[in-house]
């Protein structure tokens, strides 16, 4: 009964999305639409998302393994293996916010025919929480005290502290349910030795693996035990990897060899030119990613030795002046950056917390329009006078910026544009780009990591998982400042330190009501923005492309893009 209702709802929603192709996923038989070809320019390395190396693996696995609930394309939770989303209202979340009880769908079986039960959920938690296993989703399980099976269809997760947002474990495809029978000998240090299981997990999802070549290709077949009647519409699927983004776009939009291509961060005019061939459609959706400039607060003079880039090393010679920071932000024409590098996949933003809608502040929106005159005036008033070389200086300190980011065509374009915009206000910029595996690698011996931040400005994108910003906003507390004392880990790259901010973070950890949480998050966002600890540039969307014959794609930035692959069909 329930399942039928769900199917009807899903079909209705789908019909709304794909207008004009009304009979999308409804009356199909399983496997009637042949093969689905998916292209990810980064190949999948492993199909066990708990041991994965990134989004590509998690997405490849999301066709096989399911969590208790997904995030849909609006960021709302929808049940997958769960009967419904537990809330304080329906009694699923305890009043003291320390436990959550999930009711599981009945009659679900694994693709090998054995029944799916609460024991598998308990096992999955045990698997990921084993400290020697190196599970990369373990932060989803932070503060989890115990996971117990009340009965075959009920799981209770207890937290050691009150969790206003208790949806870390098993919500979203980063933390799905794996089968106990298959992984029971793979706990902890033995996890990597189970190659067969890691390469071919048994799941409850719409597809099963038939062939997997690591870092190359995954071949799937429809799961004939899948719980929804008539789905998936495709009999087989291929998940091919390799190449680069522009080539991937070409294979869907121009040659039509593939049905779906992921993460097409290429210059907008190239996508537009390819899309003009009429074979496919570019789709975008916006999550929480913001491309931003981090503004260094501490002194990074190499002469400081060990104190370089730390609070002890002293303040930055010119970026400690709020006028300089403000001028740098005002001099940037963000719309030009969007048009040059992002197109439909970017929007101008003045916040580091750009979504979900309830958290978005409008207090900083004056940065959306470039104001060179005001920027110049700010600098004039603050005493930064232009020298003979056109570069402003004060007391022998020149406004000369070292601006670093990771190597990526679009980022280098953005760097060049910003360099010129800053030149217009008398600021000199030296550009530097660093291989992503080094920049984001965090190797302590390397001076080029984003945590060490031995530069004046650095640029990258950050976001947060799911829809709750608590952890994300907690990044900019004093104790999160990377320094030699904490082996340079910590996410507070701009070295922002403000007791008032730290207090707000602590308060949010104790606040349950969504309105109050939203108000707190907005306040924190505004504090960061007014101090210009970071200069947000672009709210970045995910951009993918699908063939015009592929129906049912609901582009999702909150979860795997393939989250609803069971509903995809081929146009007749």
């Amino acid at each position: 009964m329930h399942i039928l209702k769900k199917t009807l709802l899903a079909t209705a929603a789908l019909a709304l999305v794909s207008v004009g192709t009304a009979n999308a996923a409804s009356d199909g038989k399983r496997g009637m639409d042949g093969q689905l070809n998916i292209l990810y320019w980064q190949a999948a390395s492993i199909l066990n998302p708990y041991l994965s190396g990134g989004t590509k693996d998690i997405n490849a696995a999301s066709m096989i393994l399911e969590p208790l609930a997904y995030y849909d394309e609006t960021g709302a939770m929808v049940p997958a293996l769960a009967e419904e989303i537990p809330t304080p209202e329906n009694g699923g979340v305890s009043d003291d916010l320390t436990s959550v009880t999930w009711k599981l769908k009945k009659g679900v079986t694994w693709s090998d025919g054995t029944p799916f039960t609460a024991k598998d959920v308990v096992f999955s938690a045990k698997y990921c929480m084993d400290p020697t296993g190196g599970c990369n989703a373990s932060s989803n399980f932070s503060d989890v005290d115990s996971v117990e099976a009340i009965d075959d269809n009920t799981v209770k997760i207890t937290f050691s502290v009150a969790k206003p947002f208790p949806y870390g474990p098993f919500v979203g495809t980063t933390a799905p349910i794996i089968q106990e029978a298959q992984f029971k000998d793979c706990l902890g240090a033995k996890a990597p030795t189970c190659t067969a299981a890691n390469f071919g997990p048994i799941g409850t999802g719409p597809f099963t693996v038939t062939e997997f070549k690591a870092n190359d290709v995954v071949v799937y077949a429809a799961n004939d035990k899948y719980r929804e009647e008539g789905k998936p519409a495709f009999a087989t699927a291929v998940f091919k990897g390799g190449g680069e983004a522009a080539a991937a776009a070409r294979s869907v939009l121009e040659t039509g060899e593939f049905d779906y291509a992921w993460n097409l961060q290429v210059e907008p005019e190239i996508l537009a030119q390819m899309a003009a061939a009429g074979k496919g459609t570019v789709v975008t959706s916006f999550g929480t990613s913001v491309e931003r400039l981090m503004v260094q607060a501490t002194n990074v003079d190499p002469a400081l030795g060990d104190k370089r880039g730390t609070i002890e090393g002293g303040v930055h010679p010119f970026l400690n002046d709020p006028a300089v920071r403000e001028a740098l932000s005002r001099a940037i024409d963000r719309q030009v950056l969007v048009d040059a590098g992002y197109g439909k996949a970017g929007q101008v933003t003045c916040n580091v917390l750009p979504a979900p809608a309830v958290y978005v502040s409008t207090a900083n929106d004056d940065c959306k329009v470039q104001d060179v005159d005001k920027a110049n005036k700010l600098l004039d008033d603050a005493g930064w006078a232009k020298g003979s070389d056109g570069i402003r200086a004060k007391d022998g300190v020149r406004l000369s910026i070292l601006y670093q980011t990771s190597t990526n065509g679009v980022r280098q374009g953005t760097q060049a544009l910003i360099k010129q915009m800053w030149a217009a206000i008398g600021v000199e910029t030296e550009l530097k780009n660093i291989s992503a595996s080094v920049f984001f690698g965090g190797d302590q011996s390397s001076p080029d990591t984003f945590q060490k931040f031995f530069a004046d400005i650095e640029m990258y994108t950050n976001n947060f998982d799911g829809t709750d910003p608590e952890k994300y906003m907690g990044s900019w507390t004093c104790k999160n400042i990377p320094s030699p004392a904490n082996q340079w880990i910590g996410n507070n790259m701009p070295r922002y330190c403000n007791a008032e901010y730290d207090a707000l973070v602590a308060e949010m950890g104790k606040t349950a009501s969504i309105e109050k949480r939203a108000a707190l998050a907005m306040k924190m966002n505004d504090m960061l923005m007014q101090a210009r600890a970071m200069i947000p540039l672009i709210h970045r969307g995910n951009v993918s492309a699908h063939s015009n014959t592929l129906l049912g794609v609901r582009m999702n930035s909150w979860d795997s893009e393939l989250w609803n692959v069971q509903d995809w069909t081929r146009a007749k």
Partner: protein, 337 residues
Amino acid sequence: MLNYTIRRLLFAVPTLLVISFIIFAILDLAPSDPTGNLPLTIPAEVRAQIREALGLGQPFPIRYMKWLQQFFINEPLNMMEQWWGIQIGDSANRLRVTSWATRSPVVDLIVERMPQTLWVVGMSYVLGILIALPIGVISAYKQYSIFDQIGTFISMIGFSVPTFFTGIVLIVIFSVQLGWLPSIYDTTLQVTDWPSFWKQVKQMMMPVFVLALFNAAQIARFMRSSMLDNLNQDYVRTARAKGLREQTVVLTHVLRNSLIPVVTVIALGIPQVFGGAIITEQIFRVNGLGQLLIIGIEGADIPLVQTLTFIFAVLIVLFNLVADLLYGILDPRIRYD
């Protein structure tokens, strides 16, 4: 000669050990990190845990010794077990060289990629040699003829235009405009009958062409210059004076004496086949050994990169030995004893 070969082979063992140590040290020193490609939403503590689970917490010498043991003892044992279907010792708990990104045995990954690497990169190399040798010989014999000029022109263009460019040009013409050839290589294709063989040929055409052009250009240039050096030597005049047929003079005497640099270049090139062709493989998504290596490097997958590079080193040492032996056969005056 036999003596020399044995001596060289014995000397190769310490050489390779030193090479393996230096490679390991470089990989260890390199500032890239296996957690560098993880999403930024994964916090630092979790990253530290992942590094620990990968064994990065152990000191450098221990990790190196472990790799040595896994590669030189465990992997051969495992291979023997598979070939002869027997069990030697406690094979279930014997650790093989395991990639960090895929958590699977590196040797299996390499074996999985051999077919497409040999089909595409190997074939292009063979083809390159087959084209280059006659072009080089004729170009030299008819120096500054039209044939030579065109040959020179094409080979220099072939060498100076990078494969990332030729590859895209070919895709735009043959896949986008004409729609004749696939731009994505299907590694799951099994050649069982004529239609599937034709499919295989079609998907190999563009990458093989791009690579063969590049390889042929280089070999042809060396062949030509070496032939030119020899064509004017006194012994050629003597051979002609003896009344030998021109064909015999050129193809037997001159060619044989001109082959030394060419043999060197080819011997240096064969290991490269196993190193794959990184850019071409990326463009046509062949996903052979080159792509495996570059993914390993980008992901700082030390066991994978170490193993691949080391196998590569073994081949280099071996083929350079083969080249040295061939010198002796081509020119009996060269002696090593």
